[in-house]
């Protein structure tokens, strides 16, 4: 998604001189197309995420559209109060781009896992959260949202090859995308793990269990009406995300069920604890927390 993001941003910057890109010293082998084309609008601010967001606030107040880029934890957590007091309180079009949600930084370990970004970002009023499921959707989501007047947080994955079958890159802000239809269970997912969720649905279909799979790609606005309409047809919903259990898509589904008074039981597949002492490649980390396609299918079967 990050290559698709930079490629798309470079196209946008070609057409609009207000776009400025700041990085906190990250983006080797990713950012170069933008940096080489627009050297006067590209700044490596150094390893200084707080200043990067503070500066973006000053740039946006003057009418520019600054994108700030870092690994997801540094972009979202290190600079969190700067995001809140800056673009959020000022209602300015700063774009915070966090790379590598969930366990995408695999071996890099605890400090690099993005497991609470959706939660902390979506609770800020007026901060739109965009979390694409694959590179095609990432490009379309960026085209659809980059010029919104309010601040945006983008959770961008690292994978630029995988895609979610049935999604075909569709993105509509504040809407859910249905990628598979079935009447036995509904799976609601977000981010790059969506492709595993679809694969789990395929396994389940082989066993005669037909699932609907819905991909959520934005909060604030959140697709709450879409979700409520969907859950009205099901007795059970299973959420799939590489995020802590609290705060992410599972929590959001619980909010909608409770607020709308829906009779739908929630099963959350997420990360329930701090993943200490287990730095490993992404797939091994996801397997360890029951987020592989096989484990997701088994979880679904055990609740039916």
């Amino acid at each position: 998604m990050r290559a698709a993001f930079i490629r798309t941003l470079t196209e946008i910057a070609e057409a609009d001189a207000r776009v400025v890109l700041l990085t906190g010293d990250l983006g080797f082998s990713v950012m170069e197309p933008f940096a080489e084309k627009f050297p006067e609008r590209f700044f490596n601010v150094g390893v200084a995420e707080q200043n990067m967001v503070g500066m973006a606030t000053g740039l946006a107040e003057a009418g520019l559209v600054p994108f700030v880029y870092s690994i997801i934890t540094f972009a979202s957590l290190r600079a969190y109060e700067f995001i809140r007091n800056g673009p959020v309180h000022h209602r300015l079009p700063v774009r915070i781009v966090g790379i590598g949600g969930g366990f995408e930084y695999g071996h890099a370990g605890l400090t690099h896992y993005g497991l609470e970004d959706l939660g902390v970002m979506r609770l800020q009023p007026g901060l739109t959260v965009v979390a694409p499921a694959d590179h095609q959707q990432a490009a379309n989501a960026l085209r659809a949202t980059w010029n919104l007047p309010n601040p945006i947080f983008y959770r961008m994955g690292k994978d630029d090859a995988a895609f979610v079958p049935g999604l075909d890159g569709r993105f509509a802000l504040g809407r859910m995308e249905m990628v598979r239809e079935g009447s036995d269970l509904v799976i609601v997912t977000i981010g790059a793990i969506a492709s595993e969720a679809v694969a789990a649905a395929e396994i389940l279909a082989g066993q005669g269990v037909n699932c609907t799979v819905a991909v959520v790609s934005s909060f604030n606005p959140s697709p709450s009406d879409d979700l409520a309409a969907l859950l009205g047809k099901f007795r059970k919903v299973m959420t799939v995300e590489v995020h802590y259990e609290n705060g992410g898509v599972g929590s959001w589904v619980a909010e909608v069920i409770a607020e709308r008074g829906l009779a739908c039981q929630l099963v959350r597949c997420a990360v329930p604890r701090t993943p200490s002492g287990m730095s490993a490649p992404q797939n091994i980390m996801e397997n360890a927390f029951g987020l592989s396609r096989e484990a997701l299918a088994n979880t679904a079967l055990s609740h039916l």
Binding site: V20, E40, R41, F43, V45, G46, A48, Q50, N51, V53, G54, M55, A56, T57, G58, L59, A60, E61, A62, G63, L64, P66, E81, F82, N85, G86, H89, H90
Partner: protein, 260 residues
């Protein structure tokens, strides 16, 4: 605009609202008088080409409200709404108030916003300038130095920082908490042009601020007295917090030569 008129509003409104943060507002009064008395190019708060000002030490916002009112950027009567519940005039400034370019109140953020504003002016090839007022204790915040490094490296000569160098912080004197006596050397080491000035000498500050620009960003270290002008508040930590009693208010107004 005069320092006395600013101090009078500070005392009147903090007394009326029964709110503290008086000493820090009195500390920066003469600095803001210099800036808004003629240095800043701000004729209309919605002019995109106006100079930008960031009150990085947001807790001195009452002094800013006073100068905005005296300059005619907000109605003078609006200062009477200070901390009243239905107001944009809180202890810390909100940018929805005309004349407040950036909302502040969490220390260590203002210089970053100012640095971004200065970079924006450079990118947009605008002659507008950016000014920010920091407290000395605010330099405890590491983020301040992130911005100092960036502005120094990129030689943002349209940026001026002013430090309200009063030697005090919320819970002690800087010499006891984290010593700031090498302040000038630190900024100089990061590539800034440094000047030290009496922070209560309006003419001297105005002369310093209007001197031709160097190629580097500038910092003016303004030596000030916390609570300046009210004898019982000067250099007293507690006047970071306390509101005035009726007797203290009468005494303070008398000392600045104003009539309640």
């Amino acid at each position: 605009m005069s320092p006395q008129a600013i101090r009078k509003i500070i005392l009147e409104q903090s007394h009326s609202a029964h709110v503290g943060h008086i000493g820090c507002s009195l500390s920066v009064t003469d600095i803001l008088c210099s800036l808004y008395g003629g240095v800043l190019r701000v004729e209309a708060s919605d002019d995109p080409e106006r100079d930008r000002f960031v009150l990085s030490k947001g807790h001195a916002a009452l002094a800013l409200y006073a100068v905005l009112a005296l300059k005619g950027l907000i109605p003078l009567e609006q200062t009477g709404t200070y901390c009243s519940g239905q107001t944009l005039l809180g202890v810390h400034p909100e940018h929805d108030l005309p004349g407040v370019d950036f909302c502040t109140g969490s220390l260590g953020m203002g210089l970053s916003m100012a640095t971004g504003a200065a970079l924006a002016a450079r990118l947009q090839k605008s002659p507008r300038r950016v000014w920010t007022l920091l407290s000395d204790a605010e330099c405890d915040e590491g983020s301040t130095w992130e911005a100092v490094m960036f502005a120094g490296h990129h030689r943002l000569s349209n940026l001026t920082a002013i430090i309200d160098f009063n030697g005090q912080q919320a819970f002690g004197y800087t010499r006891d908490v984290l010593d700031q006596s090498t302040m000038a050397d630190r900024w100089r080491a990061f590539g800034w042009a440094v000047e030290e000035v009496d922070g209560h000498d309006v003419a001297a500050m105005t002369a310093a601020l209007e001197r031709p620009r160097d190629v580097a960003p500038r910092v003016l270290i303004a030596h000030t007295v916390f609570g300046k002008g009210v004898s019982f508040m000067e250099r007293q930590i507690k006047w970071h917090y306390y509101p005035m009693s009726a007797e203290q208010y009468a005494q303070a107004m008398k000392e600045i030569g104003a009539t309640p």
